[in-house]
């Protein structure tokens, strides 16, 4: 059973490897993204030394780390699941003795490992060369960051799976998937760190799961959150991971009872 899951992961990794050319352009574009945000924030900072608790230098690091984290945790599980549901191939999954959601998560992980090795790490190296990124030196910060990054991946994938499974109920969830993408990029703090939002907006974002994807790990890695507070951050991530399991399992259970194949 377990070895089957590992195979799913391995196969996805190898599939990604076959199309790796795409990822060379990915490195370029992610670096460009970091560059453009870097210059935009430089212009915003102008002469002021600190905004929302970030110094200009910390902001540079935050942008680089956030975009590179996205390079790792991003995946299209929602689209894959919706496509399986719409073309009816999900029916095959029902008769398999393996849990479909787990299969998807494992495939996502295979893709994640690929993205980590071939997109995030080379991208990060280029970003460090080009921009004044200041990375922590303590090994504990790195280990902590890697653990948090893994939870970013889990939470983001859970949200993707839930969005994808929604196709069982709304038949065509293209709009929902687009909306999810926008919400994740905005509310996770990728585009603007959450502490820069006006009070009520950051209050709303702090009770949503999205901040656990980018903002919290980014804050730890830029040194804004230190010491025991790091455990709090990890706690929030674990909390959201556990909480999101609930809707994921419930929707999957309900979905199996109302399968409605539209084609294929």
């Amino acid at each position: 059973m377990n070895s089957a899951f590992i195979d799913f992961m391995r196969i996805r990794f190898l599939t990604m490897l076959a199309y790796r050319v795409n990822y060379y352009s990915g490195i370029l574009i992610y670096t460009l993204n970091i560059g453009v945000y870097y210059f935009t924030w430089q212009a915003i900072y102008g002469s002021s030394g600190e905004l929302g608790g970030f110094t200009a230098a910390q902001m540079t690091t935050y942008i680089a780390v956030s975009w590179m984290a996205r390079a790792f945790y991003f995946n299209n599980l929602d689209r894959e699941i919706a496509a399986d549901i719409r073309d009816g191939s999900i029916a095959i999954q029902f008769i398999r003795p393996i849990n479909y959601v787990m299969v998807k998560m494992m495939q996502g992980l295979g893709e994640g490992i690929f993205r980590f090795l071939l997109l995030m790490i080379p991208g990060m190296l280029i970003a460090i060369l080009l921009f004044p990124v200041e990375l922590p030196t303590a090994p504990s910060a790195w280990i902590g960051f890697l653990v948090m990054l893994f939870f970013s991946f889990l939470i983001n994938s859970q949200i993707n799976v839930i969005t994808g499974l929604a196709a069982f109920f709304v038949e065509n969830n293209e709009g929902m998937m687009r909306m999810k993408r926008v919400v994740v990029d905005l509310f996770s703090g990728l585009i603007i760190p959450i502490s820069l939002y006006p009070g009520w907006m950051s209050a709303v974002m702090k009770v949503l799961p999205f901040q656990a994807i980018t903002y919290l790990p980014g804050s730890v890695f830029t040194g804004r959150v230190e010491g025991t507070a790091i455990w709090n951050v990890l706690g929030i991530q674990v909390f959201w991971f556990a909480l999101l399991l609930l809707p994921m399992v419930l929707i999957w259970r309900k979905a199996r009872k109302r399968l409605f194949v539209q084609g294929g």
Partner: protein
């Protein structure tokens, strides 16, 4: 005339398919608006912490964003090449397209029209009017024809870039992953390009000229004289990039050999 009739038939078809998934239609409009809202939120949040961005005020940046939305809405409505490679090449639908008399690119674009995107263009116009009024800009006789010409030129630039990139899938076997990534960059052309370093400025002006779908043409209406020359260059860039895109596409189609089943 023949092409006009085709547009009408395709739109009727579009309405039929969309009405099957009525709820999704509204969710899609909503998600488009939300996407636009994120950019507005970025501008609002940023200007809570600073009073200018490279010498451009909040109203000016908003106005530029309003302009940016107009061609972008038209572009997303009519030129939707997402997933071209998967759908038309890998699955072999291109063969079906090529057996028909109308131009292949025209058919593909029509099969993928997305009229709800036009809502964004209207909102862009409203943003331009409001932020323009805030700055005391007066509507002059040449503003409307200029807006039409500039917006259409900007659409041509989008069309050129995206057909060029999509036509790559005729030359290489791998489905192109560049498209969604390009999508991230296009927004940067709406910020004052002068804040970027030389390399990015050159990139956004001459290589992937997204500055011509936002800041340069909008500068004409804002009377920022330092960018007037660039604003007037917009139609030229539109023609050049539009033609390059079409040429590469046509050449790519000639090289196309059927795949899939």
């Amino acid at each position: 005339m023949y092409y006009m009739g085709l547009i009408w038939e395709y739109l009727k078809n579009y309405m039929k398919t969309r009405l099957t998934y009525r709820a999704d239609f509204w969710v899609e409009i909503l998600s488009d608006l939300l996407f636009q809202a994120t950019n507005l939120i970025f501008i609002f949040v940023v200007f809570r912490h600073t009073d200018n961005l490279g010498g451009w005020s909040e109203s000016e940046v908003l106005f530029v964003y309003g302009y940016f939305m107009v061609p972008y809405g038209i572009f997303s409505c009519f030129i939707n090449l997402w997933g071209f490679s998967e759908r038309y090449i890998v699955k072999g639908e291109m063969d079906r397209i090529l057996t028909r008399p109308a131009h292949n690119l025209f058919q593909i674009l029509l099969e993928n029209v997305d009229p709800p995107a036009l809502v964004g263009s209207f909102i862009g116009l409203i943003i331009m009017i409001f932020s323009g009024a805030e700055m005391g800009l007066v509507l002059e006789w040449w503003h409307i024809p200029a807006l039409i010409i500039l917006a259409l030129s900007s659409v041509m630039i989008y069309a050129g870039i995206y057909t060029t990139l999509t036509s790559l899938s005729f030359y290489s076997d791998a489905p192109t992953g560049i498209l969604p990534l390009m999508y991230n960059i296009q927004g940067y052309g709406r910020y004052p390009v002068t804040i970027y370093n030389r390399a990015i400025q050159v990139l956004l002006t001459w290589v992937i000229p997204f500055a011509f779908v936002g800041i340069y043409p909008a500068a004409l209406f804002l009377e920022r004289s330092e960018m007037h020359r660039m604003a007037l260059l917009t139609p030229v860039m539109g023609l050049v990039f539009g033609s390059v895109g079409l040429l590469l596409w046509n050449y790519g189609v000639k090289r196309y050999r059927g795949a899939g089943s």
